[in-house]
Symmetry: D2
Subunit: 255 residues, 4 copies
């Protein structure tokens, strides 16, 4: 069994620190690197790329709505042409900086409200997927399992990396249980490991009610912000390895 761990990184900005990138770099196989529109700045991006390369971590762009003060977590009603150009700009910025640092951008994962909306909205998902394909047809689109974004990625001819969340429960339709509900989060390293291995073993999302929604699973999303986040991610990685899983960068999983 081969699987990838991915995490958002490079979300610090200027003097402001966000997340424990150094802690995560020894755990995950792939990093989603902020491109300056919700977090990240040129210095942070460059350092993040260099550290990822040194740690053998593959990188992808983590583009966002242009909303620094909202950290990209607020939906913005952008015209498709504006969104397309905004995504191309962010992808280009990261790709070129990666080249300077002798690393390669191999995937794209939309950030925050953009990602959330693209899971439900086929039109928006289509704009994103076609923008990625327009930039580079070889890029992997990292998309939540069973989302509109997954479908749009396939329709655009992209390789699609399917991700599940280690710390989030799924509804019967395969969407994330909203954080406003009491059982939205899968708390702690052991529970996360059990949640993830159940899904990997079943070959699908396992819902709250225990139903299996079949899907490929290429990657598991972990987080670095929060007191116990890095420890939980490490426990998950160690648990997966102990169960015989091979962890690899996303581009090797989908090679």
């Amino acid at each position: 069994m081969r699987v990838n761990l991915n995490a958002d990184m490079g979300e610090s900005f200027g003097m402001y620190r966000m997340g424990d990138d150094d802690g995560l770099l020894s755990i995950v196989g792939s990093a989603n690197v902020a491109c300056g529109f919700h977090g990240g700045d040129p210095m942070v991006m460059r350092r993040t790329i260099a550290l990822a390369r040194e740690n053998g971590v593959s990188i992808g762009a983590h583009p966002s709505f242009p909303d620094l003060v909202g950290f990209g977590r607020r939906f913005m009603a952008m015209a498709p042409k504006d969104l397309e150009a905004t995504l191309l700009y962010q992808l280009a910025a990261l790709e070129g900086m990666a080249r300077v640092e002798e690393h390669a951008m191999t995937h794209v994962k939309p950030h925050g409200a953009l990602n959330n909306a693209a899971c439900e909205d086929a039109d928006l998902a289509g704009v994103i997927a076609r923008s990625v394909a327009l930039f580079d047809k070889e890029l992997i689109l990292l998309a939540p399992a069973l989302s509109e974004l997954e479908k749009a990625g396939r329709a655009a001819g992209l390789k699609v990396g399917i991700e599940v969340f280690a710390d989030r429960a799924y509804t019967e339709s395969g969407s994330l249980v909203p954080r406003s509900q009491p059982d939205a989060m899968v708390e702690g390293g052991e529970a996360s490991l059990a949640h993830v291995t159940a899904m990997l073993d079943a070959g699908g999302l396992v819902t709250r009610a225990g139903k299996v929604l079949p899907t490929e699973i290429h990657s598991i999303c972990v987080h670095g912000d929060g007191v116990h986040a890095v420890a939980a991610a490490r426990a998950l990685r160690n648990g997966l390895k102990a169960r015989g899983a091979t962890l690899a960068p996303l581009d090797r999983i989908l090679a």
Copy 2:
């Protein structure tokens, strides 16, 4: 005699219009395209690249200090590492978007206060030139004649395009006469043509006092903001052609 005309373009931002890009595109051979830090936004950049390609106009990055409200015209004391990353980001953004639009970024010209400071400050000029070389050693650095930026470009191993200004008078040391002085500007199409042809014929800058400061001249900078700017640029181009000059994109001049 072969020479290039260059102009700043793509400096509009969102709903805000700046300059007459459409007017200039049929006149100049090369466009310095804003990268979003003093002007320009992803939509404007994409449109400017596409129009330049359609008009056979070569493009370069026109990176700036990060100062939108000041239009990049105010000096900012940036640490060398910050400036380097900030430049790489802007170059990468334009280069990647140009690729999408099937055009090529072939030169770099710093904008505004960054360019002005780099003409005098060898350290700053060195940071800029090395950043450009780090991004792509084949890029042309477009630099004012006899400036520190020209020297730094050569020291970094770059091809350097030497530019003169059609509408600005030169001091005896080869710097631009400050705008605060009454004879700073060369006004009108005829006077500009005479100024430029005198320099091309002399093989150097011609100062206010009529002294010649020898230099190569590859490009002439014209402007598109101002009521008569495009007309003056067109008169200059027509006058140069009438005198037998061949106008070409910058990358062909320096090929």
Copy 3:
């Protein structure tokens, strides 16, 4: 008959010019002044306030979603507490600068997508109205006729200035005909004057089908961006005066 003309102003930003503020200042009685979040900057705000005072034009804040590149024309899903603070900041900035320039901020009119959304969304309208009342209970909320914003303003205990648009047609329910439809705009000075006087005479909105939707009308919104905008506004003002109307600043209309 007493009525106010209002227009958006102070939407220039840095080197970027927007609208013909100087042209409008001799025509309108009240200016909605951008506060730096969709347009406007501290220099522009200060100059706009000073010119308004010199011309006897009353001023109001024209706060927006924080979206400079989108000119505040894109809906953003802001949490109520975030929106409230964002509005208070903008109102405070304008109010304090007005005091320095010995003028007074007497009304508030939301800008762009914020205003549009507040016409339909009672919750959003409530957040806006309560924010204005929290800042200063004496402020006038300038709201489109028959909108949720009008209702929210009254519920918050504010004086509400009711505005109609000189250049837009109304649907049978009292909303603006979307710009995507062919008869959305009332084009030209004469047609605008006829449209406005019909509404003032009828004491209500006059729909495309000629139905009258009764409403108070305190103010008529005119625009300064567009080739003929200022001329059309002047024609409207002159036509209203010729018909015996008294034009006055908004705060006098509602005194």
Copy 4:
């Protein structure tokens, strides 16, 4: 002996946390509140004002160059008129929000590179002091001892609060020892207390060489960013109280 402790606060931005405001609020008498140009946002400002009021901490504006990514620590060459408007905007935003929160803005302390430059540059200091006086002649300008900013504040007719730094050594001319030098910092709570009490007892700055440069001292600047910063500030406060000092908000010290 009465003295004030002041600290910079409200420098968080969106999702980004900066400093330990909650820790400092029980220690200092006065807070310099960021206004959104180097840090702070409307939500953060509002919360900071409310917490300061609840803790009996007086507040002042902490305006900056417009440089979020540089945290206001980079000099920007702003034209005096631009700087003046930029300062008025920030002062107005904080003052108005303070009013909403039933607190009062009673002082102003420039931030970062703006403050540093104003200590040496009489022209810049004059622009700042006159901007503050233009906004409200009753405001206290909080300025480093023996700085050009102190002089400019007096020349503008302002009350000037004179501050010393608990954790910085002074040169023989009264400026701060640059951080690049080994003995720039006064490390630890005990050393800081000794440094501060020596200056309060001597009635002046005490230089590295032990020379006394006479000056009034109204306030001591402490910091909240850094692992031991809040503990050091608390130790300083407790030590001063143990020595019989009365700690008070800045506006009471200068009443």
